[in-house]
C-alpha cells in the first residue's frame, strides 16, 4: 500500500521540477512578464487575423489606457468585440456590444444606431487579442471614418479600476 502513497522524496522532486520549469519559463519570457508587472504594454501591436483585400481599407490605430479617458470625453464610443455572453457578464461602462463572430448578422442594426461619422474605440480581451483589430478593419471598410483599438482591453481596464457594468445595456 505504501507504494501508492507519495514519498517525501517524490514531493521534493515535484517541487524541484516546478521550480526548474518556472525558471525556464521566466528566463525565456522575462520581458513579457517584466513589462506586464511594470504596467507597460507587453504587446506592441496585435496582428489582425484577416487581411484587407482593398488597399484603401485602413488599419485601426491602437490607443492605451492613458489616452482612453481623454478620447471618451471627446465623444468616442466604446465597442465591445467579445462574445455577447462575456459582454453581458461585465463590460466597460458605456460600451455597445458588437461581437466579431456575429458581425454579419448585427452590422445592419448597428449601422442604424451608430452613424458612420461616430468615432469608435474597440476593445476585446487584450493580450494581443486580434478580434478588435479585425472588427476595426471591417468597420473601416463599412465606412466608419475614425476607428481606434484599446489594446489593453477588458482585463487591463478592470484591473486598473475602470468602471464596469453588467447586463445588456451600455
Amino acid at each position: 500500500m505504501n507504494n501508492y502513497l507519495p514519498r517525501s522524496r517524490d514531493l521534493l522532486e515535484a517541487l524541484v521540477l516546478i521550480l526548474v520549469a518556472l525558471a525556464a519559463g521566466l528566463s525565456l519570457n522575462y520581458q513579457l512578464v517584466f513589462k506586464s508587472f511594470a504596467g507597460l504594454n507587453p504587446v506592441v501591436v496585435a496582428q489582425p487575423t484577416v487581411t484587407a483585400s482593398d488597399d484603401s481599407v485602413g488599419f485601426p490605430e491602437p490607443v492605451d489606457f492613458e489616452d482612453l479617458e481623454r478620447l471618451l470625453n471627446r465623444g468616442y464610443l466604446l465597442i465591445d468585440a467579445r462574445a455577447h455572453q462575456a459582454y453581458r457578464n461585465l463590460h466597460l461602462s458605456g460600451a455597445l456590444s458588437l461581437p466579431l463572430g456575429e458581425v454579419d448578422t448585427q452590422l445592419a442594426d448597428f449601422k442604424t444606431k451608430v452613424p458612420l461619422n461616430t468615432p469608435l474605440i474597440l476593445y476585446c480581451n487584450g493580450f494581443g487579442c486580434p478580434d478588435s483589430f479585425d472588427l476595426g478593419m471591417r468597420l473601416l471598410a463599412e465606412g466608419y471614418t475614425r476607428v481606434l483599438v484599446y489594446e489593453g482591453g477588458f482585463p487591463e481596464w478592470r484591473d486598473r479600476g475602470g468602471m464596469l457594468k453588467s447586463g445588456d445595456a451600455p
Binding site: 515535484a14 521540477l17 526548474v20 520549469a21 521566466l26 519570457n29 504587446v43 493580450f127
Partner: protein, 148 residues
C-alpha cells in the same frame, strides 16, 4: 504483464497530451495569456506570468513521462495542475461563461474548433484517471525505483 501495459499506455498518453499542449501554448504566450484572461480569475499581469511559465511545466512533465524518468514527481505535478484546470473550468460553468477552454488553442478557437467548458472538464477528468492509473500501475522495478 497487464499492469505494465496499462502503466505504459497511461504514461505515453499523458506524455503526448502534455507535450502537445505545452508546445502550442509555449510558442505563443501572448495569445495564451489572452485565453487565461478570458477565464476572468487573475489580475492583469498574473495572466502573463501563468502564460509564461505554465507551458514549461507541461513540457517538462511530458518529457519526463516520455523518457520514463522521475515519473512519480511528474505525475504529482500533473495531478495538481489538472486539479487547478478542473477547478477553473468548474468556475466557468458556475458563472455561465461559454468560452473556448484554451487547452489546445492558445489564442482561443471559434465554431467547431472550440472546446466547450463541459467537454474540457470531461477531458480533464479522463486525464485525471490516466494520471491515477499511471501512478497505480507503475511497476516497482522501473529505473528510478531501482536507483534507490
Amino acid at each position: 504483464m497487464m499492469k505494465k501495459f496499462f502503466y505504459h499506455g497511461c504514461r505515453l498518453l499523458l506524455a503526448g497530451v502534455f507535450l502537445y499542449a505545452g508546445y502550442l501554448k509555449g510558442v505563443d504566450p501572448v495569445a495564451f495569456a489572452g485565453q487565461v484572461a478570458a477565464y476572468d480569475l487573475l489580475p492583469y499581469a498574473f495572466n502573463y506570468l501563468v502564460a509564461a511559465t505554465l507551458p514549461f511545466v507541461e513540457l517538462l512533465c511530458g518529457a519526463l513521462l516520455l523518457i520514463n524518468r522521475r515519473v512519480k514527481p511528474a505525475l504529482l505535478v500533473l495531478f495538481a495542475l489538472n486539479g487547478v484546470f478542473i477547478l477553473a473550468l468548474t468556475s466557468l460553468l458556475a458563472r455561465g461563461l461559454e468560452i473556448d477552454c484554451g487547452c489546445f488553442h492558445p489564442g482561443g478557437a471559434e465554431g467547431d474548433a472550440a472546446t466547450s467548458p463541459q467537454l474540457a472538464l470531461l477531458r480533464d477528468l479522463g486525464l485525471m484517471l490516466a494520471i491515477l492509473g499511471a501512478w497505480w500501475f507503475k511497476p516497482v522495478n522501473t529505473p528510478e525505483v531501482a536507483d534507490d
